[in-house]
């Protein structure tokens, strides 16, 4: 526990809140601004001792950083221990909701296998605890020795923290950090740039639409903000007002809830979008404006229905019905995401789907698509540092046979996400991991710097722009950090200082406050001139006398919240605007043949993020491991979803161990035979098979990412392509007892043999 460098009784202005926190944490009284007692709505003054009685509940506002959605939460604490997470009813994104992953942040916080002290690989080759000073010095020395050969991998979502890492890289002299992010996020941005001229993930006004076609976007699974989209979906479909149609090869949770599901052949989503455009153009219901906007992007005629049917594997009447309903809808909307973007032609597919919105006139319309806008705090902290690199850049940095140099990995697990990078990591001189757990990457680290989890840290988050309204959310720590864990931003700053290239701020919080202060100044200076990119909307600074007051007011209020007025349409840049925008969008039909073994047992692999484990982050929480996947009902493991038809042919029964052989590796896992799987495809959730990551994740399930070929990229996006991979499926054996998948709805197989219909009764009213 830090002894703190502030003294009690000193004038408040000279002490940061974080220092106060240290003081009071040391004094055994955790009192924070922004916390309130439910029973009296009292904002406790830090100058007084806590009035929180032992055993009384204190609710503190915080921000969920389990994904990039930026849900605002309130955390129930009793005796300075976090007990329960609830959605903040006024939450900017979530409106009181929390998802399963969000709830489980508590188990991340209190995980028994957390890394809580700095460690360094000793002479014996084992990691040994050392002091922060020693650990930082070792790390900084390695970085300072060869900044050019240093690769930074930052796992934080876009926002201030990523900006700080960019600034770090620029100051210390390393190449820009690799931003470790989901492939479909990257591809989605690129597709949006091509179609709408803005490289941000678009905002969809789902709730006010009346007909939504989602091309692969798993909006109710684990994508962007399941809480926001869940609520929006509920509003869309309330009283059967609107419809959601899912165009996706896999029967995802979204497909399961959609009013219609079109299981297109994996990888043909872009072609499907073009074919749909063809039907819409031919229907005569499309406005002239939309038609010309679309045809400007796609001068070539779209494929005809027969070609679409052939390529996508969907009956003609279903496509025609979809086109007809879409054409007759008042506020149609097309979304794209997920597996549609993960093939090598992902960018083209995404652009083709997004461009449908131009055709339907949905861009910037109520119930349509909006620009994903933010306040630019990533840039504000980054200063003039170069933009972050896409994940695939890491593979390029690690390519070759030589020394991979120094690797700094912060809050990311690239070796779990792309196991193919392992050889590159082995050749690295020094691996420095800022992590709360011994995940697959941290296991290889030479220096481990323990970082704080969500509830322990000062938070400044720019939420995913799902609402199309910019925001910066700020929250103070909820509980005292465990052990010696530090804020990853503070770690970056300390590393820079130790390397002799100190950044202008002592800590992450000060950095954010400084950026806020600068924004205030810039906004003041800009006056009514809205064109200054450094300026905030003037309304946000109204009432603040000076920068310091603005900063304090903003942090007290929990951040800067934009209003609906700030929502705007994406701007398609003029074709001749002198930028790198292509005049014509790439044709999604031009697509490399799927790679992998051929033959009858050749299946298209669909890796997906389950709502349990996400990209693997949730794997260390017992609550999530034991949560039955809603579709397969599997707990505690990884499974392969096989279609009933394929299973019958291959003699596979639920639970049988199957081997999936790809181009670079093979995995063995139990099969789940489901009637909802598209024949010829096999779905496998990512997130299993951790080498460590704590006792609940260690060796649990298998890592499907091992099948990814690091040479395959999504064209034009710098992302690894995990779609369109073909695998051979072989049945190996009946499972041993310990191999059997843990199925919650165990009897459903038996229920199939029941000769009578089976469903809960409709009874009388209560």
């Amino acid at each position: 526990m830090s002894s703190g460098n502030g003294k009690r009784g000193e004038p408040r202005v000279t002490i940061g809140r974080r220092d106060f926190f240290k003081v009071y944490a040391a004094a055994g009284v955790a009192v924070l601004q922004g916390c309130r007692r439910r029973d009296q709505e009292l904002i406790e003054s830090p100058a007084r001792r806590s009035t929180a009685l032992p055993g009384a509940s204190v609710w503190r506002r915080s921000i969920c950083e389990q994904c990039g959605a930026g849900c605002e939460i309130e955390v129930r604490t009793v005796d300075r221990l976090a007990k329960k997470i609830e959605g903040l009813p006024s939450g900017f994104v979530n409106r009181g909701g929390v998802c399963a992953l969000g709830h489980s942040a508590l188990q991340e916080l209190y995980h028994p296998d957390r890394v809580t002290e700095p460690m360094r690989r000793g002479s014996s080759g084992e990691l040994e605890p050392v002091s922060w000073e020693e650990a930082l010095e070792t790390a900084a020395t390695a970085i300072a020795a060869a900044p050019d050969a240093t690769t930074i991998v930052a796992g934080a979502p876009s926002g201030p923290l990523l900006g700080l890492w960019r600034r770090f890289a620029a100051t210390v002299g390393t190449p820009p950090p690799v931003h470790w992010q989901p492939a479909d996020a990257l591809v989605e941005r690129e597709a949006a740039r091509l179609a709408f001229g803005e490289s941000t993930r678009p905002a969809y006004d789902l709730a006010r639409s009346d007909y939504v076609v989602s091309v692969g976007a798993p909006l109710l699974d684990r994508w962007r903000s399941p809480v926001h989209f869940g609520a929006a979906w509920a509003e869309l479909t309330a009283d059967r007002r609107g419809k959601l149609v899912q165009v996706e090869a896999r029967h995802s949770l979204t497909a399961a809830n959609a009013d219609g599901w079109l299981p297109v052949r994996p990888g043909s989503e872009g072609f499907f979008a073009r074919g749909l455009a063809g039907l819409l153009l031919g229907s005569g219901t499309v406005g002239q404006e939309g038609r010309s906007a679309y045809e400007a992007l796609y001068p070539e005629a779209p494929p005809d229905l027969a070609a679409t049917v052939e390529r996508c594997g969907i009956d003609a009447d279903r496509i025609e019905r979809l086109a007809a309903e879409l054409a007759s809808a008042r506020r149609p909307l097309v979304m794209v995401g997920g597996s549609a973007l993960e093939g090598e032609n992902g960018v083209a597919a995404g652009a083709a789907a997004l461009a449908l919105n131009l055709l339907l006139g949905a861009v910037g319309r109520v119930g349509g698509v909006f620009a994903g806008v933010d306040f630019g705090f990533e840039e504000r902290l980054a200063g003039d540092a170069t933009a972050a690199l896409p994940p695939a850049a890491l593979a390029d940095r690690l390519a070759g046979d030589g020394d991979s140099g120094v690797l700094v990995v912060s809050e990311a697990d690239p070796l779990h996400g792309v196991p193919g990078l392992e050889a590159g990591f082995e050749r690295a001189g020094t691996v420095i991991a800022c992590s709360a757990f011994f995940d697959d990457t941290t296991l290889r680290a030479d220096v481990v710097l323990p970082v704080q989890t969500d509830l322990e840290r000062f938070q400044a988050v720019e939420p995913d722009p799902v609402r199309g309204v910019p925001a910066l959310l700020i929250a103070s720590p909820t509980v005292a950090p465990r052990g010696e864990a530090r804020h990853p931003g503070d770690v970056a700053l300390a590393l820079a200082a130790a390397a002799g290239r100190a950044l202008p701020w002592p800590g992450f919080q000060e950095a954010v406050e400084s950026a806020l202060s600068d924004a205030f100044t810039a906004t003041r200076a800009a006056g009514d001139d809205a064109s200054d990119p450094a300026a905030l909307p003037a309304s946000l600074i109204a009432g603040a006398l000076n920068a310091r007051q603005f900063v304090r007011r903003t942090t007290d209020a929990g951040g800067l919240l934009g209003t609906e007025e700030l929502r705007r349409a994406p701007t398609r840049l003029p074709r001749d605007g002198g930028n790198d925008m292509p005049s014509v969008l790439p044709d999604p039909a031009a697509r490399a043949a799927p790679v992998g073994p051929a033959g009858v047992e050749s299946f298209t692999l669909i890796p997906f993020e389950s709502l349990k484990l996400g990209d693997g982050r949730g794997a260390n929480r017992p609550w999530l491991q034991e949560l039955p996947d809603p579709l397969s009902t599997v707990m505690w493991g990884t499974w392969a979803e096989v279609a009933t038809e394929d299973a019958d042919r291959l003699g596979i029964q639920t639970g049988d161990i199957v081997r999936l052989t790809g181009t670079v590796a093979e995995i063995e896992l139990p099969a789940m035979v489901l009637p909802t799987v598209r024949p010829g495809s096999v779905g496998v959730p990512v997130g299993g098979g951790h080498a460590d990551y704590g006792r609940y994740a260690r060796g649990r399930g298998v890592n499907v990412n091992a099948l990814l070929d690091t040479d395959r990229r999504v064209a034009g996006a710098g992302a690894f392509a995990r779609g369109d991979l073909r695998v051979r499926v072989e049945r190996l054996r009946r499972p041993r007892r310990s191999e059997r998948p843990v199925i919650y709805g165990r009897g459903l197989r038996q229920a199939e043999e029941i000769p009578v219909g089976w469903a809960p009764h409709v009874g009388g009213k209560a």
Binding site: G747, L748, P755, W758
Partner: protein, 465 residues
């Protein structure tokens, strides 16, 4: 004219006492071997108490497993004795005489073991006494609406009744043992058991009254016990259990399995203790007839039970029915039908089938079949709950198997020990029977209990001094 039966009765008397006196090393070996199983039993139970009830294979939704199956099974076995002996006593069937004691002992021991299983089954056995009605600091009495509390009432009554029903006729025989034993520990043991029995007219008179009343009283108790056991199931809403036929069905099944054990025990005793002269073919013939009758009645109930379900349109009942007859439980189900109905009827319908060896073998089959019947009542219904999502399965753990096998050992050990210590054939009742034969001999017709071979057999057994 009275001399010959008189003499042969004397001879038989001597022979019987001789048989009982003789120490059988087989019995000792049996006691020791079953003693090992007793250790297994207590080790497994101790292991379960130490580690938690989770060491079993029961789960959600199969919350009841081997322990409840064995509970019902052993309670069923317990109907061998008391009920059968009581019925035979009330109906004054002479051939009961060599049977009653061994049957009643079966009852008591089976009941003791059966009564243990609900305790083994408890999640928190340390506080089992919460079920017992007594004024307590919890200010709470048991919930008398629960069939489990009826169970406690019924089994308590039955076990006390059976123990007394075994004990009362044992007093005169304990006195026989006492008076024939040399002074010492053994004599004192029998003296305690005999309670000062002298065989006076008053004692005999009171005893006869007592036995008569107990025999009448124990029959409805026995019927109620297994009916109430059946109500543990039938009172629920669970498809497959909710059945009005369960009461009589269970009682019939209990008697059926009871006779099966009795047949096996008697065949073993007859062979092991060379009691051919007392447990005669005629006894086996009569019991065999009763046996096959029960088999038919059981078959009738089973048919009625499944016919009503099959005919009904109830979705959930039909599901249970389906998994039983055609699904995962079809093999045990049809096995049960074969060993409980087909084989007994095929074998026991013929006089030659009603001899000791075939009846004992059929009895073994019926024991398996009746165990399966309980298994098929408990598990399929639980594993197919109404909401299909929760359909489950069940596989017993080694602890459950250990306790199940161990319980057989406990039973065998108790039975061997009992046989070693006390007359397994009621001496005084045999004597009474021979006396009847002597007096009945006046009409020239030897009564049932009088061994038909007695007249022909030389008095080799030797008269007494």
């Amino acid at each position: 004219m009275t001399d010959r039966p008189q003499a042969s009765a004397r001879a038989l008397d001597g022979e019987l006492l001789g048989r009982l006196d003789r120490r059988r090393p087989g019995l000792l070996v049996g006691s020791l071997a079953s003693g090992v199983l007793v250790l297994v039993f207590f080790y497994c139970w101790g292991y379960q108490i130490a580690n938690g009830i989770g060491v079993t294979g029961i789960n959600r939704p199969v919350f009841w497993g081997f322990y409840i199956i064995n509970f019902v099974f052993w309670i069923g076995i317990s109907h061998a004795g008391t009920l059968i002996s009581a019925i035979l006593r009330v109906t004054k069937a002479e051939w009961r005489r060599p049977v009653t004691r061994s049957a009643e002992a079966i009852t008591l021991f089976a009941l003791a073991i059966g009564g243990l299983f609900p305790l083994i089954h408890l999640g928190r056995v340390a506080i089992f006494y919460y079920m017992i009605p007594y004024p307590n600091s919890r200010m709470l009495w048991p919930n008398f609406r629960s069939p489990l509390v009826w169970d406690i009432a019924a089994i308590t009554t039955y076990i006390i009744g059976s123990a007394l029903y075994l004990f009362l006729p044992l007093i005169p025989d304990a006195a026989v043992m006492r008076d024939r034993a040399a002074a010492g520990l053994k004599k004192r043991f029998y003296a305690v058991l005999a309670l000062g029995w002298r065989g006076t007219a008053q004692q005999w008179h009171s005893l006869e009254w007592g036995i008569r009343i107990l025999a009448v009283a124990i029959i409805p108790v026995a019927v109620s016990v297994h009916t109430i056991v059946s109500w543990d199931f039938a009172m629920t809403q669970t498809p497959g259990w909710k059945s009005t036929i369960f009461g009589p069905y269970f009682v019939v099944g209990a008697i059926f399995s009871g006779i099966a054990v009795l047949m096996i025990a008697m065949a073993l005793l007859r062979r092991g203790l060379a009691l051919e002269r007392f447990l005669t073919d005629r006894v086996f013939n009569n019991l065999g007839l009763l046996f096959v009758t029960m088999s038919l009645v059981w078959g009738y109930f089973t048919f009625a039970e499944h016919l009503t379900v099959w005919y009904s349109g109830d979705l959930f009942e039909k599901l249970v029915h389906h998994v039983l007859l055609h699904g995962d439980f079809a093999v045990p189900f049809w096995t049960m039908v074969v060993v409980n109905l087909v084989i007994p009827v095929a074998v026991l319908s013929f006089p030659r089938g009603r001899r000791p060896l075939p009846t004992a073998l059929v009895g073994c089959g019926v024991l398996v079949g009746m165990w399966l019947e309980r298994f098929l009542i408990v598990v399929p219904a639980l594993s197919t709950p109404r909401l299909a999502y929760s359909i489950g399965d069940y596989m017993p753990s080694w602890v459950e198997l250990g306790i199940m096998i161990g319980a057989v050992g406990v039973f065998a050990c108790l039975y061997f020990t009992f046989t070693q210590l006390l007359p397994i054939v009621s001496v005084w009742e045999m004597r009474e029977g021979w006396r009847h034969a002597v007096s009945g001999g006046e009409s020239g017709q030897p009564s049932e209990a009088a061994p038909t071979s007695a007249a022909a057999s030389p008095a080799a057994g030797g008269g007494a001094a």
